[in-house]
């Protein structure tokens, strides 16, 4: 088991004939993902190293039974492919694209939620489940190993950093998921913690946050309220970041705070999460946490 994706996931790539779409579709396939198709309008009938290409997501779903989509479409045009995936019945949508205008994302997200689908990203490295040999994203597969730790992160490269450490400390991962770095993204820490709580294969979770917004505070609130009860470690990037170029008050008003690392760390610690100061120590800390909980 794992969350959201597994060895039975039937994955398509929207934008498969582009440079990155092709490179990463093949990398996913090589990792073990069941890549059943790709979508590029006008290229139906072609194939990308054996992966069949369709004109529309609906065609791809009808022909392959796809339930998961990996999106590589330029930011200016990425809103519609998300909606197309929803309309065609795709359950899990992983949007790699960075820099989508936030109002476009917000508008697509509205429909995603109404229809009860999962949107990971945009601006995410994606999701990977080593025990299921399923990777739907751009993360380097070789740093991962199967195991009991769930990883959820707001930052792409920091996730790799942490996963690499976990693996080097002999701690494999159940599922690793990047929430995405854009101002508005689909899934939140809370959404993912709910799934990790239900997943028997996940024994502990690493949560990687960063300054800005209030997603970490909401996660802390959720943990505190008993929604997530497994051991958790967290790292918050930006403790020493220079005072932001923030203008105006709206951001602070809406989040009920200024989104500093200090506020987030305080909230997480109050919820019983072990917060790590040095990013290079996350592996050790998680090893100790798991050892404690095993006792």
């Amino acid at each position: 088991m794992a969350i959201l994706v597994n060895r039975n996931s039937r994955v398509i790539c929207q934008g498969i004939t582009g440079r990155n779409g092709k490179f990463h579709s093949l990398a996913c396939k090589a990792y073990g993902t069941n890549m059943v198709g790709g979508v590029t309008p006008g290229k139906q009938g072609e194939s990308v190293d054996g992966i069949p290409v369709f004109n529309t997501v609906l065609n791809a779903v009808n022909e392959t039974g796809a339930d998961t989509s990996l999106i590589f479409i330029p930011a200016a045009h990425a809103k519609e492919p998300i909606l197309e995936a929803v309309d065609a019945g795709i359950k899990v949508i992983v949007c790699i694209t960075e820099g989508i205008p936030p109002l476009d994302t917000a508008s697509a997200l509205h429909t995603v939620r109404e229809e009860g689908r999962y949107l990971i990203g945009p601006n995410t490295p994606g999701i990977i489940s080593p025990p299921e040999k399923c990777k739907v994203g751009i993360m380097p597969g070789y740093i991962h190993s199967p195991g009991p730790v769930g990883v959820v992160s707001r930052s792409g490269t920091l996730t790799y950093e942490v996963v690499d450490q976990l693996t080097k400390h002999g701690l494999g991962q159940s599922t690793c998921l990047g929430l995405g770095g854009d101002p508005v993204v689909g899934m939140s820490f809370v959404d993912v913690l709910k799934l990790f709580q239900e997943d028997p294969e996940t024994e502990a979770v690493v949560l990687i946050g960063e300054i800005g917004g209030s997603a970490e505070e909401e996660a802390a609130e959720f943990i505190k309220s008993g929604g997530f009860t497994k051991p958790a470690a967290a790292y918050i990037a930006g403790r020493l970041a220079p005072p932001g170029k923030r203008m105006g008050h709206a951001g602070a008003i809406i989040s009920g705070g200024t989104g500093t690392a200090h506020e987030k760390i305080k909230a997480l610690e109050a919820a019983g999460v072990t917060v790590v100061e040095n990013i290079t120590r996350v592996g050790e800390v998680m090893r100790d946490l798991l050892a404690q909980s095993a006792r």
């Binding site: 950093e161 508005v184 909401e218 403790r239 220079p242 008050h249 709206a250 009920g256 290079t280």
Partner: protein, 391 residues
């Protein structure tokens, strides 16, 4: 991209929102003339910089016409204004907004922002507007009223009206506020803003005025509003940041002596935290992002090497979409072109790592490859301090 106060007010005024009478001046004499032309006893001079906290930093002056307006303008214009948000280098003041001073009966706060949590454009309003609004939000959150706008339906007239009636009982004033709310919302969505704020919106007699306004456009949607580039004030932006953005890079200037190339904002911040933990101080950050080509990486290196404060270079990359071999080729190209003597500490991991390592190793350049991130951070700090390293 940020707009100046006077630009924000222009957008509002063009849509029928009342703002104080005034004009933008670039010269002390012009300022004096503009002040006199307003034909009112008291005027205000406001430095036009991309930063909050102008008042406390001396960037705002309320003066009577009897006082030495020209002198005051000379004091402010052409200087760099240092506020609690600008960093020690401050921001240059090249323009002053000269305005009439209105009688203020009540200060209202109005802000529009995209709420990360709900994914909805959210309008916030409070009858307790002014400088202490963040404090009010913390201590008296019941005084902040919000509307979460349905992304597909947009803001409706009755939503704006209902919000206006929470801010005032007066029908005439409510009608005006309702119009301001609708206008501010429309500006927000039609220009893809990241922030649109009027604080304070003041009631003065039987009229409502936007006394100060801040409108920022989201950089990721600027491609939809090419005409707004004309309003960019390059003097308010760091030149290196600008040239980095041209290459699709993100550059942040800091106060130290270590030049850093990373990929991803999270890794940038973690690297900063780590260098600081080891007692060092970065000069800057260049985030090459995900899709960088060999040439973009080379350009990034060149930008970084332009900064004369840099004593050591730290390359900390965990390649995902960015492949390590592409990175290595870019770095090597830049170092060879720039004939750099600076010590370079490289720590790379990720996609195509073997090829990347091989390229660095075969480059015959003064590059140190360190496997452990913690070690690498420690070594670059020591190197910058000119100490011998233990590695």
């Amino acid at each position: 991209m940020n707009l100046h106060e006077f630009q924000s007010k222009e957008l509002l005024a063009a849509r029928g929102v009342a703002v104080p009478r005034g004009s933008v001046c670039y010269d002390p004499l012009e300022t004096l003339i503009a002040a006199r032309r307003l034909k009112c006893d008291i005027v205000v001079l406001k430095a036009q910089v991309h930063s909050g906290g102008r008042g406390k930093a001396g960037g705002v002056a309320v003066m009577s016409l009897e006082e030495d307006i020209r002198g005051k303008a000379s004091e402010i214009l052409g200087k760099r204004l240092v506020t609690n948000q600008t960093g020690p280098q401050g921001k240059p003041v090249s323009a002053l907004l000269v305005e009439e001073v209105l009688q203020v009966d009540k200060e209202i706060y109005l802000g529009v922002v995209l709420d990360r949590k709900t994914g909805k454009v959210t309008i916030m309003a409070s009858p307790a507007g002014g400088m202490d609004i963040e404090e009010i939000a913390k201590t008296q959150p019941e005084k902040i009223y919000t509307i979460a706008v349905d992304p597909l339906r947009g803001l409706t007239g009755y939503q704006a009206r209902a919000l206006a009636y929470r801010l005032t009982d007066d029908n005439g004033i409510a009608g005006q506020i309702s119009h301001v709310i609708t206008t501010l919302y429309q500006i927000f969505v039609s220009y893809d803003c990241s922030l649109a704020e009027i604080n304070p919106l003041v009631i003065s007699g039987d009229k409502v005025y936007a006394l100060d306004a801040k409108i920022n456009l989201d950089d990721h949607a600027l491609f939809r509003h090419p005409e707004m580039e004309l309003w960019r004030d390059r003097s308010q932006e760091d030149q290196l940041e600008l040239s980095a953005r041209k290459d699709g890079l993100s550059y942040i200037k800091l106060d130290g002596d270590i030049g850093c190339i990373v990929n991803g904002a999270g890794l940038a911040m973690a690297t900063l935290d780590l260098i600081s933990l080891h007692g060092g101080s970065p000069a800057n950050f260049l985030d090459v992002g995900g899709g960088a080509s060999e040439q973009v990486v080379a350009d990034a290196m060149s930008i970084l090497l332009d900064d004369r404060r840099v004593k050591a270079v730290f390359i900390n990359i965990f390649g995902g979409i960015l492949r390590c071999d592409v990175l290595a080729r870019g770095v090597i190209k830049a170092l060879k072109q720039n004939r750099v003597e600076l010590p370079v500490i490289v720590r790379i991991e990720g996609t195509n790592i073997e090829e990347g390592r091989r390229l660095f190793e075969e480059s015959q350049l003064p590059i140190r490859m360190i496997g452990s991130l913690d070690d690498a951070a420690r070594i670059v700090v020591e190197t910058a301090k000119g100490l011998k390293t233990a590695g």
